[in-house]
Amino acid sequence: MTKPLIGTEVAEKIEEHLPGAVVEAGENSILLNSESVLDICRFLNQTAGLDFDYLTNLTAVDYLDYFEVVYHLVSMKHNHSLVLKARCFNRENPTIPSVTSIWGGADFQEREVYDLLGIRFDGHYNMKRIFLWEGFQGHPLRRDFL
């Protein structure tokens, strides 16, 4: 059985390493400062005892006030999981650091989020639309898109 890690406990570890990176830690998930996503992910990936080597799911939700990017991480070594969240408040040009340099699996999922929700991932090598054609107006999964 995959054990979901308690958000607050992991958040303490992150705080020790990167002060100010965690905005809010809940039971199930950790809300991160969107600038430090890449550093935290690298920390989670490389720290012994955490070893989050598998990015299961990367997606984003449009809450109208802000976008929330959600990362579902799993460690195959220890069989535990963690949910990370980061918020983008800029509606016109939301950006967040890309995690493709840590998990190759983020490649298509980040492109998908960009395509459908319009969140740019800084540092992605090929930030193009994935499903819709180049030149499509708007991002369909936003709640204000028709």
């Binding site: 493709t100 340099s101 190759g104 490649d107 090598y125 090929n126």
Partner: protein, 410 residues
């Protein structure tokens, strides 16, 4: 001459009667030869086209049976009219010509393929004696080799003139593959020629008191494989490679031109089957029944083996297929020539009474063939037969995963 005797060697008897009838008119001898050729060609076409139509039907039915389905069964009894329905369908389709293709060459390619296949039948004997073949050349095998390699030209013409990348790739593969397989094919025939001592097809059949596959198993094997590659039939259908290059060189063909290609391929298949029959299976020879029946029977047997392989085996990769030709078939063909030459020497010196059935040679040659094929297939992969062993690191293959994420080459 009784009716039965007339039927037994139908092809030869019709021609003999025709020549005799012509001679009664006191015509010039050159005119007689011309008219004789004409009736010979008509007889040959009467032989070729029905068999090709049956081939097309049989291919679909036979493979369907192997795949647990009935196959085409709507047109006529047992679906026998299916090839004709297909022909009508393709003929009434639009001829599509690529906008930037070479019109003349595009048009010419199927014609060349069609006639290069048809011309092969000129020297194939389907009856006894010199009249058995349309033109019993004394360099019959040389003629077959020469005409048989014309199809490469046709395929390359088709691929190049289509102005299509798939077609071009198919054509390039065709040139590489067909030229490579020409070499072991020719060398494998040399064994037969050595035994017979003549290049004439009627002579080769005439001397086969037993099928030559018995003394030339290796030669037959190599010729058969080479012929499969030459015909670009599965598992060597690199040139068409439906799952890779859609259909390779005739991707851009449609309608009548496509039908001509299609027909040309089946005619080549029939030609190869008849050549195998003539060289290795004793041609028209056989007990009791008419000679043309034996001939057709053997041709169909060869064709069914081709179909069986097509239904079972998967396609070989292009580099593997080339390696197979140069590293497997070519050395084997050379060894075969060596052994056959030695045997012919022994034969001439000490074994004058053995012509009718040389069982020691048969035994030795089969043993050699089986052992060679087994041994060589073991070392074939060590020679670089295209099988990559696990753990090998390819050049240019990035080791870590970070290096892989880079902008795509444009």
């Amino acid at each position: 001459m009784s009716v039965w005797e007339y039927i037994v060697d139908l092809f030869v008897n019709v021609r003999t009667d025709w020549i005799e009838w012509l001679q009664g008119f006191n015509l010039a001898s050159s005119l007689i030869i011309l008219l004789d050729s004409l009736i010979g060609i008509i007889l040959m076409l009467i032989f070729v086209f029905p068999i090709v139509i049956i081939f097309i039907w049989l291919e679909r039915r036979f493979i369907a049976w192997m795949q647990l389905r009935p196959g085409p069964n709507r047109c006529g009894p047992f679906g026998l009219l299916q090839p004709i329905a297909d022909a009508i369908k393709t003929l009434i389709k639009e001829l599509i010509m690529p906008a930037k293709g070479d019109k003349l060459v595009h048009w010419l390619a199927p014609v060349v393929l069609f006639f290069s296949g048809l011309m092969l039948f000129a020297v194939i004997p389907i009856g006894k004696g010199h009249l058995g073949a349309l033109a019993d050349l004394n360099i019959g095998i040389l003629y077959i080799v020469a005409i048989g390699s014309l199809s490469v030209t046709a395929i390359f013409m088709a691929g190049w003139s289509s102005n299509n990348k798939y077609a071009l790739l198919g054509a390039m593969r065709a040139v590489a593959q067909l030229v490579s397989y020409e070499v072991p094919m020719v060398l494998s025939i040399v064994g037969v020629v050595l035994i017979v001592g003549s290049l004439q097809m009627s002579e080769i059949v005439g001397q086969q008191s037993y099928p030559f596959i018995l003394v030339q198993p290796l030669g037959c094997f190599i010729y058969f494989i080479g012929a499969m590659a030459e015909l670009n039939r599965s598992p060597m259908d690199q040139i068409e490679a439906e799952s890779e290059l859609t259909t390779g060189y005739f991707t851009e063909y449609s309608g009548m031109k496509f039908a001509t290609f299609f027909l040309g391929e089946y005619i080549s298949t029939l030609a190869i089957a008849t050549i195998v029959t003539t060289l290795f299976l004793g041609g028209w020879k056989g007990p009791f029944l008419p000679v043309w029946f034996w001939f057709v029977f053997k041709v169909f047997a060869v064709f069914l083996v081709i179909l069986w392989m097509r239904a079972t085996l998967i396609r070989v990769r292009i580099d593997q297929i080339m390696a197979f030709s140069w590293k497997f078939l070519l050395p084997m063909a050379l060894i075969n020539i060596f052994i056959t030459a030695a045997e012919v020497l022994i034969w001439d010196k000490w074994m004058s009474g053995w012509e009718s059935f040389p069982w020691p040679f048969i035994f030795v040659n089969w043993a050699i063939a089986v052992v060679l094929i087994l041994l060589w297939s073991k070392i074939f992969f060590k020679l670089g037969g295209g099988r990559v062993e696990v753990g090998e690191v390819r050049p240019g293959y990035s080791q870590g995963y970070g290096a892989d994420l880079q902008a795509p080459v444009s």
